[in-house]
Symmetry: C2
Subunit: 260 residues, 2 copies
DNA sequence: CCAAAAGTGTTAAGTGTACACCCATGC
DNA sequence: GCATGGGTGTACACTTAACACTTTTGG
């Protein structure tokens, strides 16, 4: 049975949001040389869902996306960008999440209204976000039972067209590698050159020459080499770097002369 | 006063389409070394509007965009691609088109319903289309009094955020020059190298070296030189070329190694 | 001292840029 | 023949790609 505040929030969903339109966000993080994506586990315990939600009647798309991103990660001021609208009429024809809710809240009038609303056709605006992996505190919502990272190479069963949304997001991410501050967004403030290289290699799906990578990266003049080195690891200690945000964004205006 | 079929069509607009979402299309053509865009003149005789419309309840975004494109140009199978969703809550706060209609159809119940519907907030999915200028037969709709080409360098007053939609479309067009069959879509089947160069120069907003342009273009192996030359003009007759569609699309997979 | 990783240097091959030259056409 | 535009060739600068060598660290 729904708790009071859940009932109220379900009722408000219809009143406060635009109909027929939703937002889904592919939230990417980078950890241990793997690109990860934040997913929510549905109550059916089988399928997973992209974080997402609806657009307030007085909210812009970007405001809504930032609000939704914050509610899953606890983060603000994150790189977030829309990349595609998904509007196949079949995409929300079967909505398992809502069907299950319908049974669960069978005696609840507001919930039933909500379920009818949410079972209708939706067009979703896909966003992708890039976050620093370690800063995220995943939080699931009332429709789901878990929120955690998945390797993009090893995705679980996803509802509706979310698999395809993720694939499009990844494709966009790769295409924009030289036009968006992707390194700055996915890595911690301080990182080593090999770490940056692993990120590029992961995103591009191929290995790069260590020496040429370093030279090219430095030639962009967007990195600041710090006096400290990373101690503790075996072998020679690598320098630490930090992005010079200003130079980075300036350089991205024309794109980092392509590329590998 | 509205004619019968207009009343019916207004009523059907609400019943047949998704609420809160629209489509606007920036239709580009290239003629006499100028990039043009197809615009509709509103009944106020002052402002212009992008071609657009709504999405049928069983239609995909692409189907809707193609239907709308056909209704303004008479063309099918045209290069058409979504590029951005515009969702500022202010963007449709003032809708002159609907306000004028409201007066005009004051005694008409269906029209009033329609006007209320259309005055609400809309999120619009922006598409851009590339057409062969000479093949288009511009047709205006019942909300407008004229449909004609405008030079993108010399745009008239536009409603709402349509100016900004056009600017975003142009920016996207330039960015995708090496990744989409833009030449093939905007030029006639047969064209000369200088004509192709003018197109690139216009899109990029800068002049290119004639000789290097030719060499680079030919190096892509996407052009077929025809035995005939363009007669009639003054001076030396240039060769005619035609895109090899298959090679072109294959080459675009990896992008035409950049670029000018 | 050795292995492994990081930093720097060198060079040949390839690409881009700027320009010189020749060809075709109309007047 | 000359002005104009179209087609081809070439030299040079610069970038890229491949690889050698040196330095640092833990064991």
């Amino acid at each position: 049975m729904a708790k009071d505040n859940e009932i109220i929030s379900l009722k408000n969903v219809i009143e406060d949001n635009l109909p027929s339109i939703s937002i889904d966000i592919a939230i990417f993080g980078f950890h241990e040389n793997h690109l990860r994506i934040l997913l929510l586990k549905n109550k059916d315990k089988e399928s997973w869902t992209l974080p997402g939600g609806f657009i307030g009647k007085e909210e812009s798309l970007e405001e809504a996306a930032n609000r939704l991103l914050f509610s899953r990660t606890g983060l603000n001021n994150i790189f977030l960008q829309q990349f595609h609208a998904f509007g196949d009429p079949e995409r929300t024809r079967i909505n398992k999440r809502a069907e299950l809710l319908k049974e669960q809240y069978a005696k609840d009038q507001y919930a039933q209204e909500f379920i009818e609303w949410v079972l209708g056709r939706f067009i979703t605006i896909g966003f992708y976000a890039l976050v620093e992996f370690t800063e995220v505190e995943p939080k699931h919502d009332i429709f789901t039972i878990e929120c955690r990272w998945h390797d993009v190479q090893d995705l679980p069963l996803l509802v509706s067209d979310h698999q395809s949304i993720i694939e499009t997001a990844l494709k966009t991410l790769r295409q924009q590698l030289n036009y968006q501050p992707i390194g700055l967004s996915l890595l911690p403030h301080e990182f080593t050159m090999p770490e940056l290289q692993r990120l590029y290699e992961t995103l591009l799906g191929k290995t790069l020459d260590r020496r040429n990578f370093q030279r090219k990266m430095l030639s962009y003049k967007i990195l600041e080499r710090l006096p400290t080195k990373r101690k503790g690891g075996a072998y020679k200690a690598p320098y630490l770097y930090r992005f010079d945000k200003e130079s980075y964004e300036e350089a991205l205006q024309n794109g980092l002369k392509d590329l590998w």
